[in-house]
């Protein structure tokens, strides 16, 4: 079933297409949610909330963007709410920079092939706007114009944020891993 048929069915109140949406976009949303929140179980909850909210507010979908892009916009808002709640629950303690080993300390004990935990830990340590823009650019593979529209910011802001986000991520990855083929942070 195509995007237009799904949207039309939802606007008619036909919930049988929920299975089609999950089949078409569910896993992609889940992976994006995981990169945004860093926890698989919470990522599933975020996807569930996203789809529920999407079905309930389908009348607001005007078709200016693709259905997936619209769903991702909802996911992004819910993920921001999720981070606010997490911060509130830990009473002002920044969950993104939990105490413990630094990325470098942890990496020094890892094989150079074991980049997964290091990369994910570095992603978690990024600020929320930096993490969001990296996910949009390098996971969702959005162009600069699309990112600006998606985040409702100017193209100039998107460029600058993207530049600083990439620098932050580079600085959090140990040079010896040479993860980005540029010999570390220099």
């Amino acid at each position: 079933m195509g995007e237009n048929e799904i949207v039309a069915a939802l606007k008619r109140g036909d919930l049988s297409v929920v299975e089609d949406i999950v089949g078409l976009y569910g896993n992609r949303l889940l992976r994006s949610a995981y990169l945004l929140c860093g926890n698989e179980s919470d990522a599933q909850d975020l996807v569930q909330d996203t789809l529920v909210q999407a079905v309930q507010s389908i009348h607001r979908f005007r078709g200016d963007s693709s259905l997936y892009s619209w769903l991702h916009g909802i996911l992004l808002n819910l993920s921001r709410h999720y981070h606010r709640e997490r911060k509130r629950l830990v009473q002002g303690h920044d969950f993104d920079s939990q105490p413990g080993e630094s990325v470098s300390d942890e990496a020094s004990r890892l094989d150079l092939e074991s980049v997964s935990p290091v990369l994910m830990e570095a992603m978690r340590k990024l600020s929320e706007p930096h993490r969001e823009i990296l996910v949009l650019r390098y996971f969702e593979e959005m162009k600069l114009d699309e990112i600006a529209r998606h985040l409702n910011i100017s193209k100039g802001t998107a460029k600058s944020r993207l530049h600083y986000a990439a620098e932050s991520l580079r600085s959090l990855i140990p040079k010896e891993l040479n993860l980005f083929g540029d010999s570390g942070t220099d």
Binding site: L15, V18, G26, N27, Y34, V47, Q56, M120, R170
Partner: protein, 183 residues
């Protein structure tokens, strides 16, 4: 083209979204300027590596089977707020009966109030100046509005006492059209 202009356009150059003239200018500048070429190569390598690395983190991740059922259940619950909260059938019945019982207790209490008032022979409910309730064919009015009306004594008590203790009677025609402001 200056270096700052070139570096400002790098993302769009990589996206291929620049107008063809600007695309050619950036390309030309990169051919001539080694420092901009270094910045460009660095970004190109980053763009070439990170998508694959992020994909590797998540490629095996999948929603559980029947995930859509969870979504449908949530939608069902949201459509029927009474069912919110994952209560069992028994709990839902218990809550419904508790509601019915609360209404019954409230009605019994109101009835008891009138019985007590009746037995004490005094007004349990005082009407303010603006209190004026009119039901079809029946009025409950402050006593002073009924004083000296046919069927009522000087202080507004019903003469025969339709219901002893209550100022409830078929209203005299002269007070039927009283407005709250008149009271």
């Amino acid at each position: 083209m200056k270096c700052s202009q070139c570096q400002d356009l790098l993302f769009e150059y990589l996206d291929g979204t620049l107008p063809s003239a600007s695309q050619a200018s950036v390309q030309e500048h990169l051919r001539e300027c080694s420092s901009c070429r270094t910045v460009f190569e660095r970004e190109k390598q980053f763009s070439g590596s990170l998508p694959g690395l992020l994909g590797e983190q998540t490629v095996l991740m999948e929603l559980p089977p029947q995930f859509h059922q969870k979504v449908l259940s949530r939608l069902e619950r949201d459509a029927h707020p009474v069912l919110k909260g994952d209560f069992s059938w028994f709990e839902q019945c218990a809550h419904a009966w508790a509601g019915v019982a609360a209404i019954a207790v409230l009605m019994f209490s109101i009835a008891a109030l009138f019985v007590i008032r009746d037995s004490l022979g005094q007004r349990a409910v005082c009407f303010s100046k603006a209190a004026f309730y009119r039901l079809p064919g029946v009025a409950v009015l402050p006593r002073r509005c009924l004083s000296d009306q046919p069927g009522y004594d000087r202080v507004g008590k019903p003469s025969p006492g339709l219901w002893p203790g209550f100022d409830l009677a078929v209203p005299p025609s002269s007070v039927v059209n009283l407005e709250p402001a008149d009271l």
